[in-house]
């Protein structure tokens, strides 16, 4: 005699681990679940609203500077380390996880104009109003040792910007002209001039490491190749560009922060027309930095806001507003989340 028994495959109703969600048999027949569009719309709207409501972009305020913070630098090898330079020539090294200052050093006589960490992460460079370039060790000096730079270079003019090469012991400064320095020498190995102007910032291309871009006070952006004796190309805009930043994932794209409230993304090969114009700021844009994924960038403006833009979008994704920013500059950390440090009058804010 044959007995027929109802049998079910336990795989259909038993979960593999207790962490799995319960398997709920469902009928996906569309006729049973009407009004997809309107229901989904409501859900999406609620989700966005709630995300806004529960968003906590402000992480911490790093207090300790006695004067305005003028520049920031990310550590190249450590995610939790941040450096900030203030207007009284003081540099502070912060531990971001603990929100505390690890080290303080009096780097320069006047403003700390620029700061950059060497690619190896063992030392960093600062430039100041006292016409000097100083190289410092990343480690704090031992007990009883005096805090002094590894190397000091005396320049002829004031330096306004500084950046370090991605792989070599070479860095670039700008002031009256753009200089390329070898770490081992006290004179620049190359200096570029193109007309008489003063430069506000210089940046190395992180992908094509021999290329540089700089912003000049005659409203122009100038591109250089470290290997060539002459600059490559100049584009003159209607208003002055304050800073520029290369996209770390797209070799030929860079975005510049302009005085005309906009940011412009350019393809290096076609400088006649920008790829994208990013609008939303209501005052001059002062600084910009790309997220390490190259998908977004953050910009700080004179309108006391920081905005996050997607690289392909004309308008910002989100805004951070504060009333006390005087000269904000912004950087995004090497983390996936676009962490943002904004130096305000006397503090560094982390977003």
């Amino acid at each position: 005699m044959k007995v027929k028994v109802l049998s079910r495959n336990p795989d259909d109703y038993i979960r593999e681990t207790k962490h799995d969600i319960q398997r709920v048999p469902r009928n996906y027949d569309p006729s049973l679940h009407p009004f997809e569009v309107s229901r989904e719309y409501t859900r999406a709207l609620n989700a966005t609203k709630l995300e806004r409501v529960f968003a906590k972009p402000f992480l911490a305020s790093l207090d300790g500077h006695r004067d305005g913070v003028n520049c920031l630098a990310k550590h190249t090898r450590s995610l939790s380390t941040l450096l900030s330079g203030s207007c009284d020539g003081e540099v502070k090294v912060w531990d971001l996880t603990k929100h505390e200052c690890v080290r303080t050093l009096q780097a320069h006589g006047g403003f700390v104009r620029g700061m950059v960490v060497r690619y190896c992460g063992n030392s960093f460079f600062t430039i100041g109003d006292d016409k000097t370039i100083k190289q410092w060790k990343m480690e704090a000096p031992g007990y009883g040792e005096e805090e002094e730079p590894l190397n000091t270079i005396l320049g002829k003019t004031v330096f306004t910007g500084l950046d370090h090469h991605q792989k070599k012991g070479v860095f670039a400064t700008c002031g009256q002209q753009v200089d390329i320095w070898d770490e081992q020498r006290s004179t620049p190995i190359r200096s570029f001039t193109w007309g008489v102007d003063s430069f506000s910032s210089v940046r190395f291309n992180p992908v094509e490491t021999e290329l540089l871009g700089s912003c000049a006070s005659d409203r122009s952006i100038v591109l250089y190749d470290m290997r060539e004796s002459t600059p490559l190309k100049k584009v003159i805009m209607t208003m002055r560009t304050n800073t520029l930043c290369w996209n770390p994932m797209e070799a030929y794209c860079f975005t510049c922060a302009n005085e005309d409230y906009n940011l412009y993304t350019y393809d290096m090969r076609h400088l006649e027309k920008p790829i994208k114009v990013h609008m939303d700021h209501v005052s001059a844009v002062l600084d910009i930095d790309y997220s390490p994924t190259g998908q977004e960038f953050v910009s700080a403006s004179f309108d006391k806001t920081i905005r996050i833009f997607s690289k392909d979008d004309g308008h910002s994704r989100s805004v951070m507003n504060s009333l006390c920013f005087s000269f904000p500059t912004s950087h995004s950390a090497k983390r996936a989340r676009t962490d943002l440090k904004v130096p305000a009058s006397q503090g560094v804010y982390c977003f």
Partner: protein
């Protein structure tokens, strides 16, 4: 004298200063000067004491002059004087006015022309050089050179940067990006790499590590040996995966092939195997022919192999008809066609194998001997099949191939009466066009005819009927299932045969013609049926039936290969040609009235519905919709006694009726044939999509994509996860370094792989 000399000296200086080349004069001048100097010296000796002071003065003056001359501008280099011939001369003291003149190009080149050691080619080049009189352009200004340099440098940099193009577009289109780009391999990392300042300290440790390093062994467990590491590095994960997939595929194919071979081997059908081997042989032969052309050496080897196989086959005695199989086949051959075929093949093979290879030495008598042997080897039935005397049993007349039948026929012809000759001749002709399926049928036929001929010789027409009857009975008893069809055919034929025989049995030629005709006609199944069911139908078409034989005689050879149904034979009735009138029933072109007005035409087309009035109605409706409506705000029962069916007074109604302001005039109020809809809400359009997003190509795609829901309520979990995959995935706590050159290489490799 001194004055003279002084003057000369001055002159010299002047000359030196103004640097005027004096060609030809220079030599004389020099000589002159030397003389002068000599004379000065002589003079001085004479008046040494008396004019000492004067000399002193002269010197001072000289000095003074020199001093003055040096004061102005730059100090001139003192021109060297050539006073003596010397071996070593400074190149700096050569002056132009001293020499024979300017050195010309021709002077320099001339030496080469005289010298025989200079090759002709360089001589020619030099000549060309002399002809070219273009002077080198002056160098460009600094700005211009810089501009050119900048342009060049920019172009170079731009082209260099462009190599990232492909990877960047790829990333833009990617559904998901994983960061950091170069993921470090997971798993434990060796202590040596984590702890940098670790040193071996104790002597035991030192000894152990020395031993380990000497044998190239890993220091800690998870570390691989250098060789292993190298092997790991040699093949990336992707490559390994590809390799594995390839191997899997190969293995699967092999197993399939094996299974197929096994299945093949298990097939018991001998015929199948025979066909297979035959096909293989054919293939091989084809291949061999090619090989002869391309690779003669290999072909020769193959030939040797074939020869060897032949020899082995020959030695095996398989084909000698002495085997059990051959014997059984020999018996069966008389009844079974396939067996007969097999037998024939066997014989053919035998003949081939036993044939002497033609060599110049052994030709003549051995051939005969071979033939004799061959005849001995042949089984009897092959020969006796032709035997006509055994005519009483039609089944005993084996017909192997067409050739023997012809021979047989020829034999019988000699024996048979002259009357049959015509039949036989026709038969022969027909035989050629026969196919194998019809062979048996033919056999019956020919046998019967033979009988007929013989019997007509012996007895006469009287016996005919009886004979056929006999045959019919014999057939009835003997038919097997497979031959039933043929019997039916033959029976049918016999019936008709009888009919014809009854009418004109004496006239053989006529009958043969009819017979022939029948043979042709019973080709298709339809004909067969026709014959079978309705034998009386045959005499209906004597006139049509009489024509074909004559035609067929002519077409005999040409028809040989036609196997299919012939239209004329199947369709006895001619087709009626239906005449379709080509001219149109009505011609409008000539009609003068055809030039109707366009409007009339439209009117005619839309005769049923009035377009214009409906449009006007439509427009009115739109206008009415746009007009503001009077809002009645009266509340029945408010401020008075109420009850059922109470109506508010007129005054109140008037008061509470609200008329809204008239809307702005419609844009189409002066355009009678236009409706401009003003319903579009501009505030809504802000929230609508203006342009097609990137990957979509037409709005239909986009709409369908937007319309389909994404949520868990409508989709399975996996679909939801797939649809809502984040575009950028990053690893927590990992430093994302900028794109490096390795990415470019990786991309290149990936592209190459896709291409291949």
């Amino acid at each position: 004298m001194a004055r003279v000399s002084r003057k000369n000296g001055n002159k010299k200086k002047l000359k030196g200063r103004c640097n005027v080349p004096l060609v030809g004069l220079g030599d004389q001048q020099l000589l002159y000067e030397e003389e002068e100097e000599d004379s000065i010296d002589g003079g001085e000796e004479d008046i040494n004491s008396s004019e000492e002071d004067e000399v002193e003065h002269e010197r001072k003056r000289q000095k003074l002059l020199e001093g003055i001359s040096t004061l102005g501008g730059k100090r001139k280099r003192a021109q060297g004087e050539r006073s003596e011939a010397a071996v070593h001369m400074s190149e700096f003291s050569v002056n132009t006015d001293g020499g024979p003149g300017k050195v010309k190009m021709s002077d320099l080149i001339g030496i080469f022309e005289k010298n025989p050691a200079v090759p002709a080619k360089s001589r020619r080049q030099l000549k060309n050089l002399r002809r070219v009189k273009k002077s080198i352009n002056s160098p460009l200004s600094k700005e211009e050179t810089e501009k050119i340099q900048r342009d060049m440098a920019f172009q170079k940099a731009a082209s260099e940067v462009s190599r990232w193009d492909s990877i960047i577009t790829q990333n833009q289109r990617a559904k998901q990006l994983l960061f950091p780009l170069s993921q470090e391999p997971a798993g434990p990392r060796p202590v040596e790499r984590l702890v940098t300042g670790w040193n071996v300290q104790t002597p035991l440790e030192q000894e152990i590590f020395a031993l380990l390093s000497a044998n190239k062994q890993p220091f800690t467990d998870p570390i691989l040996t250098p060789a292993e590491e190298a092997s790991v590095r040699a093949m990336s994960l992707e490559e390994a995966k590809i390799r594995r997939a390839e191997l899997q595929k190969a293995r699967a194919l092999q197993s399939y092939y094996e299974a197929k071979a096994r299945r093949d081997r298990k097939i018991k059908s001998k015929k199948y195997h025979k066909v297979q081997t035959k096909a293989k042989r054919k293939e091989f032969l084809k291949h061999f022919e090619q090989m002869v052309k391309t690779d003669p050496a290999a072909a020769l080897q193959e030939l040797h192999k074939m020869e060897l196989a032949r020899m082995q086959e020959r030695m095996s005695l398989k084909h000698q008809n002495s085997s059990k199989w051959a014997k059984s086949k020999a018996i069966m051959a008389k009844y079974d066609e396939e067996a007969r075929k097999a037998m024939q093949q066997q014989l053919e093979m035998n003949r081939q194998l036993t044939q002497k290879l033609v060599t110049p030495l052994i030709d003549g008598y051995e051939q005969d001997e071979g033939d004799a042997g061959e005849t001995d080897l042949l089984p009897d039935f092959v020969n006796d099949a032709v035997d006509g005397r055994d005519a009483s049993n039609p089944w005993m007349k084996g017909k192997l191939t067409e050739e023997p039948t012809q021979e047989q026929l020829n034999d019988t012809m000699t024996e048979a009466a002259q009357v049959v000759s015509t039949v036989a001749a026709e038969e022969e002709e027909l035989e050629a066009e026969e196919t194998e399926e019809e062979a048996l049928l033919r056999e019956f036929d020919s046998n019967r005819k033979l009988h007929l001929a013989q019997e007509s010789d012996i007895a006469g027409g009287v016996f005919l009927e009886e004979m056929t009857d006999d045959r019919a009975t014999a057939e009835d008893s003997e038919v097997s299932d497979c031959l039933s069809e043929f019997t039916i055919i033959s029976r049918g034929r016999e019936k008709s045969f009888k009919d014809t025989e009854v009418f004109n049995c004496a006239d053989f030629t006529d009958r043969s013609a009819q017979l022939e005709e029948r043979l042709v006609r019973i080709r298709t199944v339809e004909d067969l049926e026709l014959l079978h069911h309705d034998p009386s139908a045959e005499p209906r078409h004597p006139p049509t039936a009489k024509d074909p034989p004559s035609e067929e005689k002519h077409m005999g050879k040409s028809k040989k290969k036609k196997k299919g149904i012939e239209l004329k034979e199947v369709l006895t009735k001619g087709t009626n040609v239906i005449k379709v009138p080509l001219t149109p029933t009505a011609t409008d072109s000539d009609d003068p009235e055809s030039k109707l007005d366009q409007r009339e035409l439209i009117k005619e087309a839309f005769a049923g519905d009035d377009v214009i009035s409906s449009f006007l109605k439509d427009k009115r409706r739109h206008e009415d919709e746009g007009k503001p409506k009077v809002i009645d705000l009266t509340l029945p029962g408010w401020g008075e006694w109420g009850g059922m069916g109470l109506k508010p007074p007129k005054r109140k109604r008037k008061r509470f009726r609200v008329k809204s302001a008239p809307p702005p005039p419609r844009k189409d109020q002066h355009l009678p044939s236009v409706i401009i809809s003003e319903k579009r809400n501009t505030s809504l359009s802000l929230h609508q999509v203006h342009s097609l997003p990137f990957p979509f190509e037409d709005h239909g795609q986009f709409e369908s994509c937007i319309r389909s829901p994404l949520g868990r309520t409508w989709n399975t979990e996996r679909t939801v996860k797939n649809v809502t995959k984040p575009r950028v995935v990053t690893q927590l706590g990992a430093i994302i370094s900028p794109m490096a050159e390795e990415e470019l290489l990786k991309n290149k490799r990936a592209v190459a792989r896709e291409g291949s």
